[in-house]
Amino acid sequence: MIIAATLAIFVVMSMAIIRAIAGPTLYDRILAVNMFGTKTVLLISLLGFVMGRPEFLDIAIVYALINFISVIGVLRYSDSAIFKHNGEDIE
C-alpha cells in the first residue's frame, strides 16, 4: 500500500513539473514549485518507510521548512517592479 501511495505521489510530481514548464504566468510556476516541495516532503517520508530507515523524517522536516522560506522569500520580493503583470504574458 505504501508503494501505491509512492507511485501516486510520483504521478502528481510530474504533473506539477508539467505545470511549472508550461504555466503562462510566473505565479503558476511559483505555485507549482510550492506544490512540488510539499509532495517531496511526503515522498521522503514514504521512501523512508519503504526502505526501513526512519531517519529520513529529519530530511522531511527540513524540506518543509526550506520550501516555506523559499516561497515567502519569493513573495517578499514580489513588490519589486519586475513582477508587475500588466496583462501581457511573462513568457
Binding site: I21, V62, L65, I82
Partner: protein
C-alpha cells in the same frame, strides 16, 4: 532532464529560478533514493532553499530578461560535444554502477567502514569520515566558505552611503504592516526552526546532520526573520560587527583544535591528543569541529544575505497604506 532543458530554453530569469528550485529538489530526491542521507540533507537545505533565495535577491537588483546574444556559438558547441563524447566513451571502461569490485570499494572505504566504530565510536560514519578521518579537507571547505563571505563583503560594502541606507530601510519597513498573517506565523515558527538547527547540529553523530546542514538551517531562520520583519528591525536585533566576528570565530575554533593537537606532540588535527581516553578525545574533537563549521556557515550566510538585500530599493506605490502602526 526535462527541467534542465527547460531551464536552458527559457528567457525569463525569474522562471529559471523557480525551475532551478525544482531541479534542486529533484536531485535531493535522487540522493534519497540512492540511500545517501547526509548528501540529500545538504542538497535540500542549500540547493533548493538558500540558493533560490539568494539568486532571487540578486535578480531583483539586475534585470530579469536574458540578453539576446549576437553571435551563434557554433565553435563552442562543437568543442563541448567532442569533450562530452570523449568523457562518455571513457565511462564504458568504468565498473558498473554499484558493483562491489569497483576500486572505490576496495581500498580506503573498507577500512573506514570496519574500523570507524572502534577508533572513533560515532555511529554516523559520514560524520566520522568528514570530521575525523578527512578533517583537513573539511577545514579547507570552511576556509573556502569564509573566503566567499569576505569576497562578498569586499565587493558589496563599498557602495553604501549612510543617508541612502536609512531612506531605503524606511521605505522597506513601511510595507510590513500589511503582512500581518505572515508575521504572526513567522513569530511562531522561527524559535522552532532555531531549535531544530541546534538539534541537527548535535545529533549529527547519530543520524544525518552535522555542521553544514545545521548552519544553513540556522541562517534560514534568521533570513526569514529579516524578510518578514524588515531590515532596520533586523539590524537592531543582529549586530553586524558581531556576526562578522562570529564568522571568524568558527574558523578560529577549527584551527585551534588542530594547533592544540600540534602542541600536545601529535599531528595536526589528531583528536587523540585532546583527552586521556582516545575515544573521548575523538568525540570532543568532532563536537568542537562541527561547532566551528556550524558557526561559520550560519554567520557567512547571514552576512551574504545582508549584503545582497541591503541594496534592494522597492518601488514607490501609488496609494499610501492607511495603517501607520509601529513595525513591531
Amino acid at each position: 532532464m526535462g527541467t534542465a532543458l527547460a531551464i536552458v530554453w527559457m528567457k525569463d530569469l525569474l522562471s529559471v529560478i523557480m525551475l532551478s528550485g525544482i531541479y534542486g529538489l529533484l536531485s535531493a530526491s535522487f540522493f534519497v533514493a540512492m540511500d545517501a542521507v547526509d548528501v540529500a540533507f545538504t542538497e535540500a537545505a542549500v540547493g533548493a532553499g538558500i540558493s533560490t533565495l539568494l539568486m532571487l535577491v540578486a535578480i531583483t537588483m539586475t534585470g530579469h530578461k536574458e540578453h539576446h546574444s549576437r553571435h551563434k556559438p557554433f565553435l563552442a558547441l562543437a568543442v563541448v560535444m567532442v569533450t562530452g563524447g570523449l568523457l562518455i566513451y571513457g565511462t564504458f571502461d568504468m565498473p558498473s554502477y554499484g558493483s562491489s569490485m569497483a576500486p572505490i570499494h576496495m581500498q580506503v572505504a573498507p577500512r573506514y567502514l570496519n574500523d570507524s566504530m572502534q577508533e572513533i565510536g560515532v555511529p554516523n560514519i559520514v560524520t566520522s569520515v568528514l570530521a575525523s578521518y578527512r578533517g583537513f579537507d573539511t577545514f579547507g571547505e570552511v576556509v573556502v566558505i569564509f573566503t566567499a563571505g569576505i569576497g562578498v563583503l569586499a565587493l558589496l560594502s563599498a557602495v553604501y552611503r549612510s543617508e541612502e541606507i536609512t531612506k531605503i530601510h524606511l521605505l522597506n519597513d513601511s510595507m510590513h504592516e500589511q503582512h500581518l498573517i505572515l508575521r504572526i506565523v513567522s513569530k511562531m515558527l522561527i524559535p522552532f526552526i532555531l531549535l531544530f538547527a541546534l538539534y541537527v547540529q548535535f545529533h549529527g553523530d547519530f543520524g544525518p546532520g552535522g555542521g553544514f546542514q545545521a548552519g544553513v538551517i540556522f541562517a534560514a531562520a534568521i533570513i526569514l526573520y529579516i524578510m518578514v520583519f524588515g531590515m532596520s528591525t533586523a539590524r537592531r536585533v543582529i549586530n553586524q560587527p558581531f556576526i562578522k566576528l562570529l564568522a571568524a570565530t568558527g574558523v578560529l575554533l577549527y584551527g585551534s583544535v588542530g594547533v592544540f593537537s600540534l602542541f600536545s606532540g601529535k599531528n595536526f588535527l589528531d583528536y587523540n591528543a585532546l583527552s586521556a581516553n582516545p575515544i573521548a578525545g575523538q568525540h570532543l574533537g568532532i563536537l568542537l569541529v562541527e561547532l566551528g563549521v556550524g558557526i561559520t556557515v550560519a554567520s557567512i550566510m547571514v552576512i551574504i544575505f545582508f549584503s545582497f538585500s541591503g541594496s534592494h530599493v522597492p518601488p514607490k506605490r501609488q496609494q499610501k497604506s492607511t495603517g501607520e502602526n509601529n513595525a513591531s
